[in-house]
Subunit: 252 residues, 2 copies
Amino acid sequence: MTYPEQNNRFQTRCGDCPLRKLSAFEEFSPQTLKFMQQFKVGELKIEAGTQLLMEGHSSPQLFTLLSGMGLRYKTLEDGDRQVVNFIFPGDFIGMQAGILGEMKHSVEATTAMTLCVFDRKEIWQVFRNEPQRAFSLTWLVAIEEHFLGEALASIGQRSAIQRVAWALSRIHSRLTALKLNNGSAVPLPYRQRDIADAVGLSLVHTNKTLAELRKKQLASWVDGHLVVSDKRKLAKVAGVDLDNEVSQRPLI
Amino acid sequence: MTYPEQNNRFQTRCGDCPLRKLSAFEEFSPQTLKFMQQFKVGELKIEAGTQLLMEGHSSPQLFTLLSGMGLRYKTLEDGDRQVVNFIFPGDFIGMQAGILGEMKHSVEATTAMTLCVFDRKEIWQVFRNEPQRAFSLTWLVAIEEHFLGEALASIGQRSAIQRVAWALSRIHSRLTALKLNNGSAVPLPYRQRDIADAVGLSLVHTNKTLAELRKKQLASWVDGHLVVSDKRKLAKVAGVDLDNEVSQRPLI
DNA sequence: CGGGAAGTTGAAGCCAGTCAAGATTTGTGG
DNA sequence: CCACAAATCTTGACTGGCTTCAACTTCCCG
């Protein structure tokens, strides 16, 4: 697989990375910044709908999403799909390929994306020479594990309205932390099928559940925008503890 | 929390660890062995039913399970429980406390357990001085993330019989890899409620589903022993790919 | 031998799945 | 810029897999 758009290397210097300024991310030390700058091998732009990584395949490259949104998902034998997580700016993509040797899920761009590109082979050098960064990588995997555990609890134990509320609450929190919100509204470019495949409900029932959340004024997702006027009320239905959320994560 | 049984330190030297001999685990280099021996601070025996780690709490200690079986689970606000994974010999316990600062799930001993004890504060030294081991730690977190993704896909998309078949198939594989099997039978000291809480089904329906698996001669779990005479047949129902399983994992 | 925990079984009800059709939006080529 | 096609969203009706309730059995362990 080749990416023609990848030629213009070093478009953004890490020092100028707009994500760094967000309070959602930990600060970089000057050394870390320098290291990241040389760890970065290029930048990549892809269009909406593009498959970035594929389940079962390795990838010579790892990515950090600079802008755009996407999906991680697993495809089952019979064609069913489980959306494992949503991907937002600042997310590190491809760790499984970097650590385990192959991806255990696919990654698809829902909107157009700009990505920072790294060389997978350098992962080992990170562990050898940059223990701080290696720890951050592990931290990210651990947080993802935590998230999946929470997802499992939600899907496994809760009702339809609780599950959908959970997904919307989580999404709204993350996008707000990234300052992508406009007041209580955040852009949400996914389709209902994506949410349905994430929470393990049928498309039809997801639609009806979204309508119910709208009617109860808990969350309104219309025209690609999600509005949550009272996030505590939504969080309560969702079974989410807003006071126990991770406030800062490392940026790779 | 104090563990009276912990006094007799260094009961087992890592060099004599029976788990090391299993082909399910990667081999230790002599340096690694030496490092592990000094990383280990003691040994712990606990009885069945003991809670080892608690959700939301930190832990000054990390563990490797030497013998016995247990459960990782999350408790929801209303008392419902999601079993996140089963714990078998060789599993490393407490990583989340080590990396994230607190546990995101509880850990309970289903049978009596013997555990290897490590000092959580030393985790950072592992990253600094033993990049190889640090990589192994990350690998373990990544595998756990992979497992939870698969669990999510199973719970989210499959029917009752497929979910239970999935759980039993996974358990049977792991216990067989640990050579705990006696022919096609493995010990399985859990209660039906544990499996029910793991696959997101009611206790009653789990019971009926187990009966159906027995009747179809796919898996028979009676008297604390699980017998799977044709693991390929079970794996097919479960949607598990036996050819794509992880064959070796690092032992910490 | 008595009491509690775990397993088993049947019956009834409901939450969510499936089917189907129509409305709305998006995309595309003339 | 319009017309048609395809994708997405919406709604109603019906169905069924799983939950809940309840009673009984079996297995332990003191």
